[in-house]
């Protein structure tokens, strides 16, 4: 049975959880540098910061997953040492991970059981699962295997699993990153109810509007240190962003008048079955991207974006020549290399292991995509100086920061590696660029550089296709936006007329335009 903690009105005087001087060192690098934070019952506390600011490290310490190097934690005034997640759960700490801690081949009920201490029988647990998921309006089919579920449903498992421990403190790591705006709204209703039940919530996000709307307090981290604790209602999104980044963020701007030219990337009736059993079918996708245009593909993760990218890059062949046309050449049956020779370039979502070989040097990673259409290879022999030259040029043009001239890819920070990967492709002046999640997990500075580079490239006449989950990003750089859902692609709509709600409905699978507009103010995306 779920016993709500007695409701409390304003935050009580004593904090539920108090972290004092939390420090976590990795070698000499301080992921957390003496951070103080107080969490109160009946309050939603936002934890803000850029990627690499130390948010994940801090919550992992609070969940007992990693041990701090220094600092102490007090739980209801008493010092505690959390030796592991089960110790944290026993105290009443629940956690919803960003990268879900689920088991794909096990059922929902088994997944939930694994997150509990196992003191009740499986049948009792199942009954309680049904009740909790019903109570909070988070429906789940306990007998289904996780790999059959959508991202939103998977998150529901995580939340229900955490709620079944009746937590006093619930930590949520970027829960809305994978949701449609409508799904996010539903989640907020649940979170507000949990607050009214007197629980403490620690809410990690970098969506500032969301934080302003939902959270009572915000703590901002930067470079492992606490910058400020403030009331987000009294701040603006801009002032919060300034505290996160430590400087004003440069505004990306499109070149004066970008003229779109002929279609350079044409996709006609592209259908593809997934190559792994957990994948998505692509269903008859048609699309044209013109030179000088940036076309955005929105959609919740797992709706066929990975398959779409693989089909465009040629990592998977769709089976018909005319499906994909690059600059007038039917490329549907061409390999990755042949497509690159036609002037196409690709940037995948995963930086490490897909975009680069992590344990290989940057020069070798320049060769990885450069061997196809450049002077790096002569009669099968590698021109080492030419590969190094590409590294130097990319470093200079895109401000890639690294410890030495030619380090391993894995040693670069996310933002710098992404700048290298995007730069490596842009330096080839491609006619067509397909890029997936260009700024996923990248700091704001690098994100601005990358977005500006994409705008500039399209300004020079390249057709750019951007697949992204970040609606703000798409609104910022795209000319037109289409939405991918269950392997279908919607008709592209001009970015100017695409608003958050309209896109959200498409992302959730409803046909566009059927909304009755009963929601609050329909504001343009990103405004």
């Amino acid at each position: 049975m779920l016993n709500p903690v007695p409701a409390q009105g304003p935050p009580a005087a004593a904090p539920l959880l108090q972290a004092i001087g939390m420090t976590k060192l990795y070698g000499t690098f301080a992921a957390n540098d003496s951070i103080d934070i107080d969490l109160y019952a009946g309050e939603i506390h936002a934890l803000l910061g850029e990627n690499g600011a130390g948010k994940s490290t801090l919550v992992k310490v609070m969940y007992g997953l990693i041990q701090p190097t220094a600092g102490e934690m007090r739980w209801m005034g008493e010092k505690v040492v959390l030796v592991g997640p089960s110790a944290a759960r026993a105290q009443g700490v629940g956690m919803v991970f960003q990268h879900f801690s689920l088991f794909e081949n096990l059922t929902v009920a088994e997944n939930v059981a694994l997150g509990l201490d196992g003191k009740e029988s499986f049948a009792d647990m199942s009954a309680r699962l049904a009740k909790v998921s019903n109570d909070y309006g988070l429906p789940l089919d306990p007998k289904r295997e996780v790999w059959r579920l959508s991202v939103g449903e998977r998150q529901r498992i995580e939340i229900v699993r955490a709620l079944m421990q009746n937590p006093k403190l619930l930590i949520l790591d970027e829960p809305t990153a994978v949701l449609t705006p409508q799904e996010a709204d539903q989640l907020f209703i649940v979170l507000e109810r949990l607050r009214s039940e007197g629980r403490a919530l620690l809410y990690i996000s970098h969506k500032l509007e969301e934080v302003k709307r939902l959270c009572d307090t915000a703590t901002i981290l930067r470079g492992g240190k606490k910058v400020a604790t403030c009331n987000p209602h009294q701040e603006t999104a801009a002032s919060l962003a300034r505290m996160m980044v430590g400087a004003d963020i440069g505004i990306v701007k499109a070149g004066a008048a970008r003229a779109t030219t002929v279609p350079r990337l044409v996709i006609k009736d592209l259908s593809l079955e997934p190559d792994d059993p957990h994948g998505t079918y692509l269903k008859s996708i048609s699309l044209e991207v013109k030179g000088g245009e940036i076309l955005g593909i929105a959609g919740v993760a797992g709706n066929g974006q990975d398959e779409f990218f693989a089909a465009l890059s040629g990592e998977r062949l769709s089976g018909a020549e005319g499906n994909i046309v690059i600059d007038g050449e039917a490329a549907g049956l061409m390999s990755v290399t042949e497509r690159r020779r036609l002037g196409a370039a690709f940037v995948p979502e995963e930086r490490l292991g897909h975009g680069t070989a992590p344990r290989m040097k940057l020069s070798e990673n320049a060769l990885l995509t450069g061997h196809a259409a450049s002077h790096m290879v002569n009669h099968g022999f590698i021109d080492k100086p030419a590969t190094l030259e590409t590294v130097d040029k990319t470093t200079k043009t895109f401000d890639v920061r690294k410890a030495k001239r030619d380090p391993e890819a894995a040693s670069l920070s996310g933002g710098n590696l992404q700048k290298f990967i995007v730069g490596r492709e842009i330096l080839r002046e491609p006619g067509v660029l397909v890029v997936s999640q260009p700024t996923w997990g990248v700091d704001a500075g690098a994100a601005a550089v990358i977005r500006q580079a994409l705008l500039d490239l399209s300004g020079r006449g390249t057709a750019v296709l951007v697949i992204s989950q970040d609606l703000d990003e798409l609104a910022e750089i795209s000319d037109r936006i289409a939405v991918m859902f269950h392997g279908h692609l919607s008709e592209p709509i001009p970015a100017a007329s695409a608003n958050r709600e309209k896109l959200g409905l498409l992302m959730g699978g409803s046909p566009a335009g059927e909304s009755t507009g009963q929601k609050e103010a329909v504001h343009a995306v990103g405004a």
Binding site: Q91, G355, A357, M360, E364, L367, L368, T369, P407, E408
Partner: protein, 367 residues
Amino acid sequence: MQLVLEKRAERSTFIAVASPLIAIAFTLITMAVLFAILGKNPIAALNVYFVEPLTDSYSLMEIAVKATPLVMIAIGLSLCYLANVWNIGAEGQFIMGAVCGSWLAVVTNGTGAGHWVLPAMLVMGALGGALWALIPAICKVRFGANEILTSLMLVYVADLIMDYLVRGPWRDPKGLNFPTTAAFDPVATVPTLLDGSRLHAGSVAALIVVMLATVMLGRTIKGFESRVVGAAPRAARFGGFNSKQLVIFTFMVSGALAGLAGIIEVAGPVGVLQPGISPGYGFTAIIVAFLGRLNPVGILIAGLFLALTFIGGEGAQISMKIPLDLTKVFQGILLFYVLACDSLILYRIRLIFPLKKAAQGNVHGTA
């Protein structure tokens, strides 16, 4: 106390060079303990094993003779392992190379055929090994069958095929019923480098293979392809490299090298086809490949070192009555240490002493 690994930001170049040496040092210490357990004087035994063979020219040449097949096979295997293709059936490819090449020696035996026989035998041997290796490669590429198991199963089959041939159709009629072919004709024999020694031209071939492999792996796009497919398969596919073709390629190259080593062994030092032509070269070459850190020059050194253990093991058996199986134990232990030390290239070890009271749950103190 607890042993904990921490990922290094970059691979340690120092350890990459030092790791085989550290591994050998640990192995020697372990061996000394084993000798002591067996009731032998450890110092004397290590001396017989590792020093005495280096002191006379006959043993030195024998080391080169034994290292020849080891190095050739290991070069091929290193290519596979770099590409994350697990060919462990080199022993079978070695035997099939020997069998296919010997076929020519058997049918031309006593016919007075010309000097074309030996080159043709070498080609047949390489082809035989490559085709035998093609079976697991195709099973993997077409059906997704695990190449470790299939390539290994084919070792037993190859062994039985050779057994059948030398006991049946190819048996020397004048051989007193021994399971062996007739001695090969001079035109079907690999020439020796020095009169009266067993050192033969195959050793030169092994050196050429080492040089070619060095160039191929370090300087060519094919070598890069092999490395990147092994290191990051998804990135390799994104780079436009076809991992299936590479499976076929690496299996065939390593099979050809093993087959070539097989026919050179039979047409060189052994001189006939008979059971027991290999004291497990195909398996020892796996150790050679890892001890050489999958680097051609490293493999050359490692091949000589493991050849030394074969010779030293024989010497120890004769002079100190140390069982020959100890050489295999030695090789197994060596591989363990090599693998463990290799791990230090990517990780550093830390010993962690848990808190005084690492009890379950939490430790309450005073607030």
